[in-house]
Subunit: 253 residues, 2 copies
């Protein structure tokens, strides 16, 4: 999301009772790059001092206070409410967060959007809902639907900024590009083979089969270049130590 788009979203907290939750909401906003916080009739006007907003004092002091929802959303083209209620209990259209977020992102491309969160105890009222175009619901389980306010804000904002995995796949393909080449894996295989031969793990007569087993084992590891080198170095050191030990043992015979 662009800075302009992030800036078009207002998080509106309606009748929040606990200043800690205002702080938590502010912190999540700051984490995900949003800056416009609006509060409607908060229970405690001391919300600006909410301590839990670690790293977001500016956002809190810039927060705008409104007497009612109507004023708080007046400049927004799209107003979305959040609810823990199910479809049956509502007259408003309800979308799952994953789906609603797509619509919100589209709207933010050119319009101001308000995202409303109700009080800890009651959520948004029917009157609050009446200002909303539609509602979203975080996909919590039916037996325990209602989320903590600060957590609900964090989850909704995360969904707005998250990148689809399919889009990420393209960029991460390059980061796995440092897989070890076959020649490196073979050096490691040989070092492993010699170490195991020296230790007596590989039985005489079974050398060929053992080597092939080890080759497959090493290939299954999907090692990157650095790790393959580490292994080869460690195994070579073992081989050397075993050689020294065997010479010692032989001399002793």
């Amino acid at each position: 999301m662009t800075t302009a788009e992030l800036d078009r979203l207002s998080v509106v907290l309606v009748a929040t009772r606990n200043p800690l939750n205002v702080g938590a909401a502010a912190r999540a906003m700051s984490n995900f790059g949003f800056s416009r916080l609006r509060v409607v009739a908060p229970y405690d006007v001391a919300f600006r001092e909410a301590r839990s907003a670690v790293g977001a004092p500016q956002l809190l002091s810039d927060a705008e206070e409104f007497e009612n929802v109507s004023d708080a959303v007046a400049d927004c083209s799209l107003v979305v409410g959040t609810t823990a209620a199910g479809k049956r209990e509502l007259v408003h259209p309800l979308k799952r967060l994953e789906e609603g977020a797509v619509s919100i992102r589209q709207a933010l491309a050119a319009n101001r959007v308000a995202l409303l969160f109700g009080s800890e105890k009651r959520g948004l009222s029917k009157s609050d809902f009446s200002h909303c175009h539609w509602l979203i619901r975080i996909p919590t389980r039916d037996e325990h639907r209602s989320m903590n306010l600060g957590q609900a804000v964090a989850v909704c904002l995360y969904e707005l900024v998250r990148t689809e995995h399919s889009a990420l796949a393209a960029t991460t393909a390059t980061t796995t590009a440092s897989l070890a080449e076959t020649a490196e894996l073979e050096r490691m295989t040989q070092a492993l083979f010699r170490a195991l031969l020296g230790s007596g793990y590989v039985k005489h007569g079974a050398e060929k089969i053992s080597l092939e087993k080890m080759r497959r084992l090493v290939r299954r590891m999907a090692l990157n270049r650095e790790d393959a080198e580490t292994w080869t170095g460690a195994l070579s050191k073992i081989e050397l130590a075993l050689d020294r030990g065997n010479i010692g043992a032989k001399k002793e015979d």
Copy 2:
């Protein structure tokens, strides 16, 4: 996600200081259908009374307490740490949450997974990281990366249960079906450590750092159970041979 899959995930809170955050984590778990909470060396043992876990008293009283990370993740095949740090500051592989969640969901199809969260102030330590296969990072902005613990747990769990729009779910689940459990990987790590100690590869005074390095190296290999056993057996044999060699060498002195 099926109930069995939800049940395979353990949320592991390491050295959490604030009982309210334990409660918030429990609440988010309950919201999204997870039930296994583990705490490692919590600051306040009164965590079971954490009040903010509205609707999740059972989950909290069922929470298991461990003295160290190693014990807390022993029965898990995949151990994922969470961090606010960037790629440059880390030696561990780091995935964005969106990407990591795909791998976690695949693993949950047949394996136990541990998802670790560090303390509020410091996050997970390097030593904690050494038990992890890889790390995930919630895509917060660089200027304010660190999230509130309860909110971070909520966002991660939400990502795990959300439904992909473009349902491109990977079909590689079968290949990860028999991943080695952490206890097995740890046996292999210890065998590797002893073999390298015996060979002189591990320098005196560097034992702790070397062990952590090896732990990470082994976790990066994504070994299946059989291969982990093969490695442990082979490394133990090497250790034995080195011991014998050293005795021989000593007798010679």
